[in-house]
């Protein structure tokens, strides 16, 4: 067939289980009334907890709602506005909002902001600006499965993983960085930069100052770029507080340096404001050439002027924006606690996390064997038999089998409770199944030890998860 190689190859990454689970859900979606036995969607990192706040803002701000400014219709102006520099009022408001989320420890110059159609578009455009086909970006694993498409597909750029493991809570280490870099070099691939997600997807943790400094030292010495995808920055619901890479640069007094010119942020309103449908993404860079090029590239995916206007009004209402972030974080914290508790009740632990719309869940003890095949088997059971669409760690390129990403912010409390009940029933049924099945043969030994340990741990302190995590 005479299509492009991009059209005929499979590197768009959409054959991964991440997307397949999604498809299964689409075929049989849970509905409280119409399909109570359907699959519950827990593979979608959406924030559906705070729409009421947005809706009440809209009710109080009818002008923004209907193409009016000070009572005057501005429809025509918006309909015609296609300037790729973006609506100034919107960029100003967005820059302030981004600063607010970072506790105003850093400030953002709206002129360095480039608006794009979602962070999907922002990430791709940045890679086009920084790398040639065949170059590579290093990414810590596990990472967002969509990166395989967003960063690689049309750009021709490679991803080389920085392997992180459960042994230290999946933190980025210097040896792991070096190893990734050397792996690329040994394959004759030029490394152009590192891309991290902070807070992390799928881990739900904020990068530590130690990790951030490590990254900056590394990109400085190797003279490469650092992209920090901070689209979950507003979802931090527990300490430690969010520290942006920009803050570290400021602390280290890296003003007007080469390094600062090579550090770029990707942002979006899809997660923090729960507005993925509106396609609002942004690139922030101190590098004028990157800003200039990315601005031109944004032509291929500008943000609808109608949406820019609505959001500029919303975010300029600083009181509202601040309030929203605080209230939203409260709700996320509660929901997160519910999930973690529900998991515990099922004898499953989660990586301790303080951000994001999901938990990184440890189901290694439920695997038939320490293999990805076993992980897939377990995943299929969970999707088809238990009726929960969760994301297997392999789709996130996790090095160790048995980890799953489970989302908690895209459903009602009742649905979350139901999901946890289903999971508990499933796990209980495994406990009850005997060895003659040959399944989970490690199980009974581990299981009883685990239960003992668990009881002991709870006696000591219900919040100390150290022992369980070390397994």
């Amino acid at each position: 067939m005479n299509l492009s190689s991009k059209a005929t190859c499979a590197s768009h990454g959409q054959d991964s289980s991440y997307f397949l689970g999604w498809q299964e859900y689409e075929k049989n979606p849970y509905d409280e009334v119409r399909n109570p036995d359907g699959i519950i969607q827990m593979g979608l990192a959406e924030n559906q907890l705070s729409f009421d706040l947005l809706e009440s803002w809209l009710a109080e701000n009818p002008d923004a709602a209907s193409f009016r400014r000070n009572g005057e219709s501005i429809f025509r102006e918006l309909a015609l506005f296609q300037d790729y520099h973006g609506l100034p009022a919107f960029k100003n408001a967005l820059a302030k909002f981004m600063a607010e989320i970072r506790g105003n420890k850093v400030s953002f110059d709206p002129r360095n902001l480039v608006l794009t159609a979602g962070s999907t578009s922002a990430n791709e455009a940045l890679v086009f600006c920084l790398a040639e086909p065949g170059d590579a970006f290093l990414l810590p694993t596990p990472y967002y499965p969509g990166f395989d498409r967003d960063l690689k597909w049309r750009t021709g750029v490679e991803i080389v993983p920085i392997q992180c493991t459960s042994s230290n809570g999946f933190r980025i280490t210097k040896p792991a960085l070096e190893e990734a870099y050397d792996t690329a070099r040994n394959r004759n691939i030029r490394v152009k930069g590192i891309l991290v997600t902070n807070p992390s997807n799928p881990l739900g943790i904020t990068l530590s100052d130690k990790e951030l400094n490590l990254l900056i030292n590394f990109v400085e010495s190797k003279e490469i770029h650092l992209i920090s995808d901070e689209i979950y920055s507003g979802t931090v619901f527990n300490s430690p507080r969010f520290t942006s890479v920009m803050e570290i640069l400021l602390d280290r007094n890296y003003v007007d340096t080469e390094v600062r010119n090579r550090v770029h942020i990707v942002y979006s309103l899809s997660k923090d404001l729960g507005l993925p449908g509106f396609r609002v993404g942004a690139i922030y860079s101190n590098n004028p050439m990157v800003v200039a090029t990315a601005t031109k590239m944004s032509s291929f995916g500008l943000v609808s002027s109608q949406t820019q206007y609505l959001l500029s009004a919303m975010l300029s209402d600083e009181k509202f924006a601040k309030n929203y972030v605080v209230e939203n974080q409260k709700r996320l914290k509660n929901r997160h606690m519910m999930l973690v508790q529900g998991m515990e009740d099922a004898g499953i632990s989660c990586l301790e996390s303080n951000a994001g719309l999901f938990s990184w869940v440890d189901m290694r003890h439920l695997l038939e064997s320490d293999t990805f095949e076993a992980e897939m088997e377990l995943w299929k059971k969970i999707v088809y038999d238990v009726g929960l669409n969760i994301s297997p760690g392999s789709s996130c390129h996790c090095l160790e089998p048995g980890w799953f990403r489970v989302c908690f912010a895209n459903m009602s409390e009742e649905t979350l409770n139901l999901a946890m009940q289903r999971l508990k029933s499933f796990v209980d049924s495994i406990y009850q199944s005997n060895d003659s099945y040959g399944f989970f043969h490690n199980f009974s030994v581990k299981d009883s030890r685990r239960r003992l340990l668990k009881k002991w741990v709870f006696r000591l302190s219900s919040s100390d998860r150290g022992l369980e995590r070390d397994r």
């Binding site: 991009k6 768009h12 999907t120 049309r154 291929f300």
Partner: protein, 487 residues
């Protein structure tokens, strides 16, 4: 000019290959520094370089007032807010796809119908064109493009895709119609240069010509691409701007009439021109090839249409009564504005290519050139911007092979502004005719520009831009005409 550390960027970022660094922006700068306003700045530069449809907003505004439920933000519509704000499915809202498919059928007078399952979203026509290139061609492959053509194709089709554009020159001698010979020649030249031709892209109605393709020519070129087994991309973004016969013949009709491999046929659509909504970024890829639809849909993730906008437009375009009214009134207003402008030009002896569509005319100023070269065209252009104070687009920016043609937009202003523009043109023509006669008599040797600077940095321009009435990324983006004149 190399910034420190710029070698650390991709060649896309560090080279000037994006096609936006041309002298053309002088016209924009002149307009931006001194924009016309009927009361505040009546002597300012009138913007005639922007192909926007500003004639029918009242109809839409009226509809909006009567249909508050179409917005997810009003009290009448807010119950849909949550679902819509959350909706990021790259298939698009079903009601949006249905409405667009129906609209496209209506624009073609019901002579073709469109399958909503084949509607794929993109970030404006800009995003749609690039997306199709990514699907159909690899780096280094070639696409044939009849010229004169939309200048931003240099960016949209080539920049990030690495696809080569092979211009097929159309000549004024036959009113710029595409001929079989020119297609064959272009194809052959590519083959000799070892460039794999993957397809042909046409704009119908044409930008900058404002003409629609006749059936015979269309059938010829469909046969051509079919024989060569190459793709045909039809950019039909001006389809509803046809204001007079002959009526639009869309590729969707042609393939019903002649044998053709439908897997080779693809359409780019948008609402930026037909409905005057460039700010809403509504681009559509419509392909008759299932694999392309599937691939394009995945790629559309990079430029989905805001769900807020999809929802609003689904509502508006499903209102069949409104659509009918809009299409006929818009065409009528375009016809009136076009006629007013061309008659005014005729009165001073300026001819335009006879056109029946588009938001502009293709004006023939060859008689006013002091010399029949692209330098002469540039000189004339500078005078038009600097002295006559009209921002028009020189033909060279459209890769026109003959100097002296200009694209002039008429649908982005009211009638009074147009009358002022015509008055200025009248005055200038009278002056110039005298001058041209003198020049021909005296054989002037020095060619001076009219004081506008020659060196120009688009980056400087970007940094000094602070007003929102600025650059449209969709204005013509030519290669430097001076470069062309020199080579």
């Amino acid at each position: 000019m190399e910034l420190k550390g710029s070698s650390n960027l991709s060649t896309l970022a560090s080279s000037n290959d994006h096609g936006e660094n041309s002298l053309y922006f002088e016209g924009w700068k002149a307009y931006d520094n001194d924009p016309f306003h009927p009361s505040r700045n009546p002597k300012g530069v009138i913007q005639m370089g922007l192909a926007e449809n500003q004639l029918s907003f009242e109809l839409i505004e009226d509809w909006i007032k009567k249909n508050p439920q179409a917005s997810i933000c009003t009290p009448e519509g807010v119950q849909a807010f949550k679902d819509i704000a959350n909706f990021q499915d790259y298939h698009g809202l079903p009601q949006f796809r249905n409405a667009v498919a129906k609209f496209m059928g209506r624009v073609r007078g019901g002579r073709a119908s469109f399958d909503p399952e084949r509607i794929v979203m993109a970030g404006g026509a800009t995003g749609a064109s690039e997306l199709l290139m990514f699907c159909l061609a690899d780096r280094g492959d070639g696409f044939l493009v009849p010229s004169p053509c939309y200048p931003a194709f240099d960016r949209d089709l080539r920049w990030r895709t690495g696809v080569q554009l092979l211009h097929v020159e159309c000549k004024s001698g036959n009113n710029f119609q595409l001929t079989k010979q020119s297609l064959e020649d272009a194809y052959e030249n590519a083959r000799k240069a070892n460039i794999k031709v993957k397809g042909l892209i046409i704009a119908n109605p044409s930008n900058p010509l404002g003409t629609t393709m006749d059936k015979a020519t269309f059938k010829m070129l469909v046969k051509f691409i079919n024989d060569k087994k190459i793709h045909l991309v039809c950019d039909e973004i001006y389809s509803a701007t046809v204001f007079r016969g002959p009526r639009l013949v869309s590729v969707s009709e042609i393939i019903e009439e002649i044998e053709c491999d439908r897997d080779l046929i693809h359409i780019v659509y948008s609402l930026s021109k037909d409905m005057g909504l460039p700010g809403f970024r509504v681009g559509i890829v419509y392909s008759y090839n299932d694999k392309v639809v599937s691939c394009a849909r995945k790629m559309s993730s990079f430029g989905l249409i805001s769900s807020q906008t999809q929802y609003f437009l689904a509502s508006m375009l499903s209102d069949e009564e409104f659509v009918g009214k809009y299409l006929s009134e818009s065409a009528m207003k375009l016809a009136n504005q076009h006629d007013l402008f061309t008659r005014g030009l005729e009165e001073v002896g300026i001819k335009c290519l006879e056109s029946n569509a588009g938001l502009y005319v293709w004006m023939d100023l060859r008689p006013l050139l002091k010399e029949a070269t692209f330098e002469g065209e540039m000189d004339l252009w500078r005078v038009i911007i600097g002295d006559v104070k009209l921002n028009v687009s020189p033909g060279s920016s459209f890769h026109c092979h003959e100097p002296g043609w200009f694209r002039v937009c008429f649908a982005n202003m009211d009638i009074n502004t147009m009358r002022i523009a015509l008055g200025r043109i009248r005055k200038f023509v009278v002056q110039e005719s005298d001058q041209v006669l003198q020049v021909k008599k005296q054989k002037r040797t020095s060619k001076r520009s009219h004081g506008l600077t020659l060196s120009f940095s688009s980056q400087m321009y970007d940094e000094t831009c602070s007003s929102p009435r600025m650059l449209s990324p969709h204005t013509p983006l030519p290669q430097s005409p001076l470069l062309r004149a020199r080579t």
